[in-house]
């Protein structure tokens, strides 16, 4: 989230699309309710009439997988009706940049497409640059090759009739969304867009989110209270786990992972290639060297490139789908599962279960016996005698049987103290990792093979004896001066000469001095505008609204009194306000670079045009991998830049066999793959069965009654469930034809108290062109009675 939960109360309009906070983030909704009490409006856009829709001032349905037409039409509406915040757009975005003549867009393809590689040559989308390498600009936004004019042209095709005929939204409902949300483009107003997995889990997921961000920039809503682009995180620490880079392509703090490419052969080459010349990322070498010092300690010296060569360098995309593809083919021998359950939560879950049987060994660390740790059992439909995987199940304790911090959606790093000793012989994951790494290091101690050298180099110094001292881990994450041992009070003081360490630079500052872990702060006094600056710690540098510079005009004056966050105080000669400024507080608005609010972007302004993405600089509509209709916008049916897998690993369904659109979602009473909730009595009793929601119209066509047992089938598999016939789903009218859509929770499996078939046995192994996030949220199926 650019903003935070408490800030929602300041919004004039919340557009909730691809998310359902009333059910999946229930307590967040009290801040939306508060906004409503102050006169704010809530708009819910969803294929299903959810509890969020029930609380909204206005609801508009859309067919799963049509966010880009929906938002593209809103971009057109905002521009044509002159509802955009023009000065903000001209000064704070790249709308004024001139794009090279080589850029073209024709019939769904941008220039530079290589069909055989399914990839673009992005250099053809670059800017015109001046002699010193800066982008050529036209702040009148009139130049025909300015981003603004190209964008306007691109979305001129997204007229209301075409859009609504694709999304299936009734025209008047659609226009009302446009009118309500685009009214926040006015100075003195702010609107927020809130989304979750309904936006990201598509083959165009990245571009869905980009389209939201573009609309927000046009309306001048980023950086303002009650504004922003707000991803609602589904897990208590998925923000933190992402920040700490449990992803193949990252190192902690969004430092890119090292790759087996010549430009990464040495630290020097790596820094040259990966460090932008301008923007805050120009400090990247300080963050990378400080990370290397945290990981390799005294084994990281100037003479050995600070241990850079110990980092593994991969040469492929190692993301989830590829990982399971490799496992399925027998390329992996071992796997660690830390509190994860892919046999329920993974896409094409039946295949992921089969893949686990090709491992030689597997370690599952969990509170419960999950469908994944027990994949070899008869109950799972397996023949144990034929599965040779050695399985180790290590009992982990729950979150309040240990101590440590979690970072919520608002980037607030909140501490959890230990309330009680772990139950039985269960242990904290931290202890398990510590003991395991200590044992592995001991095995290598007297060896000097390349494999041993890498392990021996790791600096693992967290206290004497068997037990780990978590405080030492916290201090290392923050970072300290390696010569004096003194804590560093913020990432501005990290160095690239090896004199400082920091395990995650974006968190640097949470532990600024001995004995002062700011994640533990519990001062709940409102410090103004509900920022609660003395409650916990928000990264970066306790900032609660990122890009808050954009809430003030170029001269440093808030755009409006109602939406003031920070402002230039000429008397004090520094920035003042409710939040921590997004830059050095003593820099004048006129100082070079300090009119640029988007400090993490090399150009200093936000990107309406993004020439770095794999599937184009502007979001363009393509149908989902499995779709009931041809693409109305071009002859490109699916995203031209997605990776296709072979048929056996991912069978593809077509509308002739599978005419119904399906999606998955969650309920309040269960969580993710259900292991944490289906093993509890009360929650199991509240939602005990797997069910499928469908419209009255579809039920009638299929002869299905409410509570009947039904079979849902896709090209990947079948699941049995109870039918929940409801008015919450209505058939979509798409291109004049009736298209049915159904939906189902993905929480169920065969273990625990509440059991049921796993929805993800139906979902495809196909991912977004940029992130490889699977397309769980739009696939084709058919439905029939079970008897």
């Amino acid at each position: 989230m650019t903003n935070h939960w408490n800030d929602l109360q300041y919004t004039d309009c919340a557009l909730i699309i691809g998310g359902n906070p009333a059910e999946n983030h229930p307590i967040s909704f009290r801040w939306l309710t508060k906004a409503k009490e102050k006169g704010g409006k809530i708009v819910s856009v969803d294929p299903r009439f959810t509890r969020t829709s029930a609380m909204a001032d206005h609801y508009a349905p859309l067919r799963s997988g049509t966010d880009i037409p929906f938002i593209g039409g809103m971009i057109k509406y905002a521009i044509e009706n002159n509802l955009i915040h023009k000065e903000y757009v001209a000064k704070y975005t790249n709308a004024s940049f001139i794009v090279k003549e080589s850029y073209k867009f024709e019939d769904g393809l941008f220039t530079g497409y290589d069909e055989a590689k399914r990839a673009y040559d992005k250099t053809q989308w670059a800017w015109e640059t001046t002699e010193d390498g800066k982008p050529v600009k036209d702040e009148t936004l009139e130049h025909p090759r300015s981003v603004f004019q190209l964008m306007k042209k691109h979305y001129s095709r997204y007229d209301v009739d075409t859009v609504t005929s694709v999304t299936g939204t009734p025209k008047e409902d659609y226009l009302k969304v446009c009118e309500m949300f685009c009214s926040t483009g006015k100075v003195g107003k702010s609107g927020t867009i809130m989304y979750a997995m309904g936006a990201t889990q598509h083959t165009v997921g990245t571009q869905n989110v980009r389209s939201y961000a573009m609309l927000q920039l046009l309306l001048g809503n980023i950086g303002l209270p009650g504004g922003g682009i707000n991803a609602m995180r589904g897990e208590s620490n998925v923000q933190g786990s992402t920040d700490f880079a449990l992803l193949f392509d990252n190192l902690p703090g969004y430092l890119g992972m090292t790759k087996a490419i010549p430009e990464h052969a040495t630290l020097k080459a790596h820094l040259e290639k990966e460090t932008p010349k301008s923007g805050y990322w120009s400090n990247k070498p300080k963050f990378i060297v400080s990370l290397l010092k945290a990981w390799y300690g005294p084994n990281a010296t100037a003479d050995n490139e600070f241990g850079y060569q110990f980092l593994p360098k991969g040469n492929k995309n190692y993301s989830h789908i590829n990982l399971f593809n490799a496992m399925y083919k027998g390329e992996l021998e071992g796997a660690f599962l830390f509190g994860t359950n892919p046999v329920v939560g993974g896409p094409n879950a039946g295949k992921e279960k089969e893949a686990l049987g090709n491992l030689k060994w597997m370690v599952a660390v969990d509170l419960w016996e999950t469908e994944s740790s027990a994949f070899w059992q008869k109950e799972a439909g397996s023949d144990p005698a034929k599965i040779n995987t050695e399985v180790f199940l290590l009992p982990a304790c729950s979150s309040y049987e240990k101590e440590g911090s979690v970072s919520n959606s608002s980037r607030w790093m909140q501490y959890r103290w230990q309330a009680i000793k772990p139950v039985g012989e269960s242990k904290a994951d931290l202890e398990i990792m510590h003991e395991l790494m200590t044992k592995i290091k001991a095995l290598y101690k007297n060896e000097s093979t390349p494999a041993a050298k890498q392990v021996n180099a790791v600096h693992w110094n967290y206290g004497e004896g068997k037990e780990i001292d978590i405080d030492l881990v916290c201090k290392e994450i923050n970072g300290y001066d390696v010569n004096t041992g003194k804590q560093i009070n913020g990432f501005g003081n990290l160095k690239d000469d090896g004199s400082t360490c920091s395990g995650n630079w974006i968190y640097c500052g949470f532990y600024p001095e001995e004995g002062k872990n700011l994640a533990q702060r519990r001062d709940s006094k409102d410090t103004g505008m509900s920022m609660y600056l003395n409650w916990s710690f928000a990264w970066p540098m306790n900032r609660r609204i990122i890009y808050n510079r954009a809430a003030a005009d170029p001269s440093g004056k808030p755009w409006s009194k109602e939406k003031a966050v920070i402002w230039w105080d000429a008397a004090q000669n520094k920035w003042a306000g409710y939040d921590v400024p997004d830059f050095v507080a003593t820099k004048k608005p006129t100082d070079p670079g300090f009119t640029d609010p988007f400090i993490m972007i090399a150009d200093g302004v936000a990107g309406l045009y993004a020439p770095t993405l794999n599937d184009g600089p502007f979001p363009e509509h393509y149908e989902p991998y499995e779709s009931p209709i041809p693409n109305a916008f071009s002859s490109q049916e699916i995203n031209p830049a997605i990776t296709l897998f072979d048929g056996d690993f991912n069978k593809r369904g077509f509308k002739v066999d599978y005419p119904i659109v399906a999606t998955t979602y969650r309920v309040s009473e269960h969580w993710q793959s259900g292991t944490m909730t289906r093993n509890q009595e009360w929650l199991s009793e509240l939602v005990p069965y797997m069910y499928v929601e469908m419209s009255e119209e579809l039920a009638k066509e299929k002869g299905i009654n409410n509570k009947d047992e039904i079979i849902v089938s896709s090209a990947r598999g079948e699941v049995k469930a109870y039918a929940m016939v409801t008015k919450r789903f209505k058939p979509h009218t798409v291109k004049g034809k009736k298209i049915h859509q159904i939906g189902m929770p993905w929480h169920f499996g065969y273990k625990g108290i509440a059991t049921g078939d796993t929805a993800n046995r139906l979902t495809p192994h196909i991912g977004d062109a940029n992130t490889m996030i699977p397309e769980y949220k739009a696939f084709l199926c058919d439905v029939r009675r079970a008897d």
Partner: protein, 190 residues
């Protein structure tokens, strides 16, 4: 252990919705009497520890009441500015994470081809896992590729972590990259 200052306002908010309402109505806001009456409650003399909910990304505060080596009660933390004492169905039942009889209490091992778990002690489990990890690493380790140092193994994967603490995520990344693992993934992508 965190220090919590329970002032009167917080006490009234804290002491269990129904019980507090009764106490307040019957005792007419008399703090001493309210405290006296609270001795009858399950949470009397319990230790109160603040935590953050382990479910979604909202980050609601929860107070865990423990007594006699068990969790006797959990409730929303009135001081946490996000939820101000409110909780959803999952946050409300968090006590059952501790009390559920489904919890795995001892390490379990399943041998190749076997149809059952066998309970083992921690040392045997961790020693064996360490050996397996080393065998696989040593066999699959690639030091150089096209003349470049790559120091990796593509035969071990690590999955999961969205429910771990930050400190754990940090150590997991450090450990896995320290072992040369390239297949490092978790729920943020799924």
């Amino acid at each position: 252990m965190v220090e919590m200052n329970l002032n009167r306002r917080q006490f009234l908010k804290l002491s269990g919705a129904a019980a507090a309402t009764l106490a307040v109505v019957e005792l007419g806001f008399n703090e001493k009497k309210a405290y006296a009456a609270s001795k009858e409650l399950k949470i009397a003399k319990a230790t109160v520890t603040p935590t953050i909910c382990c479910f979604c990304g909202v980050g609601c505060g929860i107070l865990v009441h423990t007594k006699n080596n068990t969790v006797v009660y959990t409730e929303g933390d009135p001081d946490n500015p996000i939820n101000e004492g409110k909780l959803c169905s999952k946050g409300t039942t968090i006590r059952q994470l501790y009390t559920s009889e489904k919890r795995v209490l001892k390490p379990r091992y399943r041998a190749p081809g076997s149809d059952k778990w066998v309970e083992k002690d921690w040392d045997w489990m961790l020693d064996t896992i360490a050996k397996r990890a080393k065998e696989t690493r040593d066999k699959s380790f690639v030091e150089k590729e096209n003349g470049m140092i790559v120091n990796k193994t593509e035969a071990i994967a690590s999955l999961g972590g969205a429910a771990l603490d930050n400190e754990e995520c940090y150590l997991l990344a450090k450990m896995m990259r320290g072992l040369g693992v390239t297949y490092l993934e978790h729920q943020a992508r799924i």
